[in-house]
């Protein structure tokens, strides 16, 4: 308050000086008396304003108090406040905006408490009264105003609009602009223009002007409308299409040929963009599903190719990998909370080693005795899978595990049309590529890989030339299980993790392995890509179940015709 008075005084003084200068200016015209009179008039005007201004200020403050009162009222009044805040962002003074920003932010964050004396905002600097800015603590029994969906939308817009004008950091302003872009048509037009005027960053300013143009779709000026159309078709998506299509009913469409041309061109551009986006989305979804299938199947491919053992416990290895990831997360949470976001990376060796150890134990205890009896080993691995599921269930419980979503797998980036590039699936794809690289490297470049390939091709002969077949079996089983553990890690951000999760992958991974051809990595990759893509293409047409059914039937039919799969190691067909 005092500060405001001070600045008022200063401004009056400067006005006085200006008046003086004005007077002196007109003195150059030579009449002392008129200077004096002018000075008087000027000062009178200033005084008038000086009297009026406080009442303006008082009125403004009364307006603010009124807003505070409404803030602590019911849903309808909250809506009024929201709209008023947007208005302040567009038309208000810098002061008002500075006052409004923390208030709006606090309402969204639930850091505003309404009590008997008004409202209190709790922020980083402590808690202070929303109206007077004095430090005070909320009285007992206060409550936060609750935002229903309509009001939430209004307040989110208000926060973004205020941030657009007042945020110190250009990235924040850019983010606010992106939020507001989607509802540009419903906002006061001059909001963007005003923001652009005071914007220092050139790039941002250009964007703001563009958004202002886009908001002018329904303005009176046809040139502005055409500009808006061009701007809108630069970011094609279905929302834009709906907006532009609605213009076909507009009278200007029929009347103005240039406008008609612009609208048609815009529709064509947008439709092209949407189609491109849809194609990309289908490819991306297919790729992500394929990467999941690949990771689940690669371990199985190694084991099956080598030993002919169908490992029905593979799904449970995936599950164990996911659980190990969770335990690493919990460990980090307790011991090194700063590193918590990196748990996915830190857990990589843990997931691999633990599941590899489980796999090796399984092989040594159980499967070793069954290697000539594949059907029995099938039953045995199923028994182990049952055991593992229930062991985990009894130990950890049946509920889904709570995973922190690190920043590098959260959200997505809109690319073109309606295609959004989600980071968690990108993580899975990247991880799958990494797994592929590691496996390929292992198989091609290490002695173990050489042994595995040899034993896969001809077990007896490999034994004859001195390869320790049993040891290769054990190591390969460990490798296969470890790869499944890595799959579990990659899947943790995407799927729910519970004891049953492995069951969803068994049939699919087997189909991938058998289709691709036993024992070949290339086969697994191609089969995974094929199955993933076909599945994703059919899904929008007939639903997820029909897609799965059709894909499985196709694979079964294919296998009857060519049972060794796509890329088989040549051998005698019995």
């Amino acid at each position: 308050m005092a500060i405001q008075r001070c600045s008022q005084a200063r401004s009056i003084q400067s006005l006085w000086l200006t008046g003086d200068w004005f007077g002196r200016l007109s003195a150059r015209k030579g009449r002392q008396r008129s200077v004096h009179m002018m000075r008087r008039v000027f000062i009178a005007a200033i005084l008038f304003v000086a009297v009026w201004a406080p009442s303006l200020l008082v009125a403004a403050e009364a307006g603010r108090a009124d807003l505070m009162g409404k803030l602590c009222g019911d849903a309808a009044s909250l809506g009024d406040v929201g709209r008023a805040l947007v208005g302040i962002a567009a038309d208000g003074s810098q002061d008002e905006r500075a006052w409004a920003t923390p208030v709006a932010r606090a309402v969204i964050d639930r850091k505003l408490t309404c009590d008997t004396k008004g409202a209190v905002v709790i922020s980083g600097e402590g808690s202070f009264d929303a109206l007077t800015r004095e430090q005070r603590v909320a009285v007992e029994g206060g409550r936060s105003p609750f935002l229903n969906l309509k009001n939430r939308a209004l307040f989110e817009t208000a926060v973004a609009a205020l941030a657009l004008r007042t945020a110190p950091d250009p990235t924040q302003r850019g983010a606010a602009l992106r939020t507001l872009e989607r509802q540009a048509a419903g906002l006061p037009e001059h909001l963007f223009e005003a923001a652009a005027e005071q914007e220092s960053d050139a790039g941002l300013r250009a964007q703001m002007t563009a958004v202002a143009q886009a908001a002018a779709l329904n303005s009176a000026d046809p040139a502005k409308r055409i500009g808006a159309l061009k701007r809108i078709s630069a970011t094609p998506d279905r929302r834009a299409l709906t907006q532009v299509r609605a213009l076909v009913a507009d009278p200007a469409y029929a009347g103005d040929p240039e406008f008609k041309r612009a609208v048609d061109a815009a529709i064509a551009t947008i439709e092209r963009g949407i189609t491109a986006g849809d194609v990309l989305a289908a490819l991306y979804n297919g790729l992500s599903f394929a990467s999941i299938l690949f990771m689940a199947a690669i371990g199985l491919a190694v084991i099956f190719g080598l030993m002919g053992v169908i490992n029905l416990a593979q799904g449970e290895m995936i599950m164990i990998g996911a659980y190990v990831t969770w335990m690493v997360q919990e460990g980090l949470r307790r011991l090194a909370p700063a590193l918590l976001d990196w748990y996915l990376i830190i857990a990589i060796p843990a997931a691999f080693l633990v599941t590899a150890a489980v796999g090796i134990a399984l092989e040594a205890i159980l499967l070793r005795h069954l290697y000539r009896r594949p059907l029995m080993s099938l039953l045995a691995t199923w028994a182990v899978s049952l055991f593992l599921i229930n062991l985990v269930r009894v130990t950890f419980g049946t509920q889904n595990l709570n995973f922190v979503t690190p920043f590098y797998v959260a959200g997505g980036v809109p690319v073109i049309g309606d295609f959004i590039f989600t980071w968690n699936r990108m993580f899975a794809i990247a991880f799958a590529v990494l797994t592929l690289g590691i496996t390929w490297g292992l198989m091609r470049l290490t002695p173990l890989g050489l042994n595995i390939r040899a034993v896969t091709q001809n077990r007896t002969m490999a034994g004859c030339i001195g390869i320790p077949v049993r040891r290769v079996d054990t190591m390969a089983f460990g490798l296969g299980s470890g790869l499944a553990g890595l799959a579990g890690l990659a899947l943790a951000p995407i799927y729910s993790v519970n004891p049953q999760m492995g069951q969803n992958f068994i049939i699919d991974s087997f189909m991938v392995v058998v289709l691709g051809g036993v024992g070949t990595i290339v086969g697994t990759v191609v089969a995974a890509l094929g199955i993933g893509q076909i599945n994703v293409l059919i899904e929008p047409m007939w639903g997820a179940v029909a897609a799965k059914v059709i894909v499985l039937m196709m694979i079964i039919a294919f296998l009857q015709w060519r049972p060794e799969g796509l890329f088989a190691i040549k051998g005698r067909r019995k």
Binding site: H369, P374, M376, A380, A383, I506, L559
Partner: protein, 364 residues
């Protein structure tokens, strides 16, 4: 070949089965005997035993492991459920639940005629033969066997389950079909009817046992075992194994369908869970535990495992999966021929040819 009377274990089992039938008949006619609840459980166990027999026929004696026999079990079950629902509808006029929530005013066209039991029976046979025939023919002709065949049958039953889960398919979807009120004109809930159905199940078990025995005792049985032990050699000798395998495969499928027809009226509901891959795997487990390659083994395995499962789901539900997995591992590692190994020295002499008693060579 060998006269029937020489196999002690088989005869004992047959006698036991007949005794149970007699017991059940007594229970119907007089107030003494078993309660309806016990009779119902026995009837279900008998249906499972028939199912185990069907798998044992192709796995124990022909060496083909099918992990999708639940499919044929399900076919029989669904057809008999359709019959019961249609029949109930004709008698009581009540519209089945699944039609109510799908908003259908009348039965889909493929439901016509199922009120008539012989038609339902015919449809079961035809559909089973069609599916098993086509699948078997294509697989055996491509010489798909062993592990590949097992996985493909798993995929097949999984596909069937997914299809049946959809309500649009018209068989009650995930809800399944329940609310059977009438069987052959009698109320399905009545205790006498329950015991009678159990008696029929056990009787069918006995008949199936006899039938399989007769099949195996002849030249057919010798061929089957030869095909199991070394198919290439048999083919080299000039026998056409494709036809042999196909016939036994289709027969096995029919028996499984029969088991389904016996099971569903007794349990009062059918739902796609029956087509779950895990259940088909469990059939193989019953046979493995009891002793594959022995008809007696299959029956005992099925009865024992399911009896324990029933008991444990109420008494100690947490324990059942651990016990099952432990049992499987035990059987696989220590008793490769199932319980038959345990009793090897005592009562039981294995059926069929003598050299089967010593470790049957596994499939590669």
């Amino acid at each position: 070949m060998k006269p029937l009377a020489s196999d002690r274990a088989f005869l004992i089992l047959l006698a036991a089965v007949l005794a149970v039938v007699l017991l059940l008949v007594i229970s119907i006619a007089t107030p003494f005997g078993l309660s309806a609840y016990l009779a119902n459980v026995i009837g279900q166990l008998a249906a499972f035993a028939v199912l185990a027999l069907s798998l044992d026929l192709i796995w124990g004696y022909l060496g083909i492991l099918s992990l999708g026999h639940g499919l044929f079990f399900g076919i029989g079950g669904y057809v008999v459920a359709m019959h019961l629902l249609k029949h109930s509808h004709e008698v009581t006029g009540k519209v089945p639940d699944f039609m109510q929530f799908m908003g259908w005013a009348e039965f889909p066209f493929y439901w016509t005629g199922f009120g008539f039991f012989p038609y339902a029976l015919l449809v079961t046979a035809v559909v089973t033969l069609l599916i098993s025939g086509v699948f078997g023919y294509v697989s055996f002709r491509s010489r798909v066997g062993g592990v590949y065949f097992a996985i493909t049958t798993q995929a097949l039953v999984y596909v069937a389950m997914l299809l049946m889960f959809r309500n649009d398919t018209g068989f009650g979807g995930n809800n399944g079909m329940t609310g059977f009120t009438v069987v052959f004109g009698w109320p399905i809930g009545g205790s006498r009817v329950v015991i009678a159905m159990a008696a029929v199940s056990v009787l069918m078990l006995g008949l199936t046992l006899l039938g399989c025995r007769m099949l195996l005792a002849g030249r057919f049985g010798v061929l089957m075992i030869a095909a199991r032990d070394d198919e290439v050699r048999l083919r080299t000798l000039g026998y056409e194994t494709l036809r042999l395998k196909l016939v036994v495969w289709c027969l096995s499928a029919l028996i499984a369908a029969l088991a389904g027809m016996l099971y569903v009226p007794q349990v009062g509901i059918i739902n796609p869970r029956l087509l779950a891959p895990e259940l088909s795997l469990e059939i193989a487990v019953w046979v493995a535990i009891g002793g594959r390659g022995h008809l007696v083994g299959a029956v005992i395995g099925a009865v024992l495992v399911n009896a324990v499962k029933f008991w444990l789901s109420v008494a100690a539900p947490e324990l059942w999966p651990f016990i099952l997995s432990g049992l499987i591992v035990l059987v696989v590692l220590v008793f490769p021929n199932g319980l038959v190994d345990l009793a090897k020295l005592k009562l039981v002499r294995p059926t069929g040819l003598k050299h089967m008693a010593s470790g049957t060579p596994e499939l590669r």
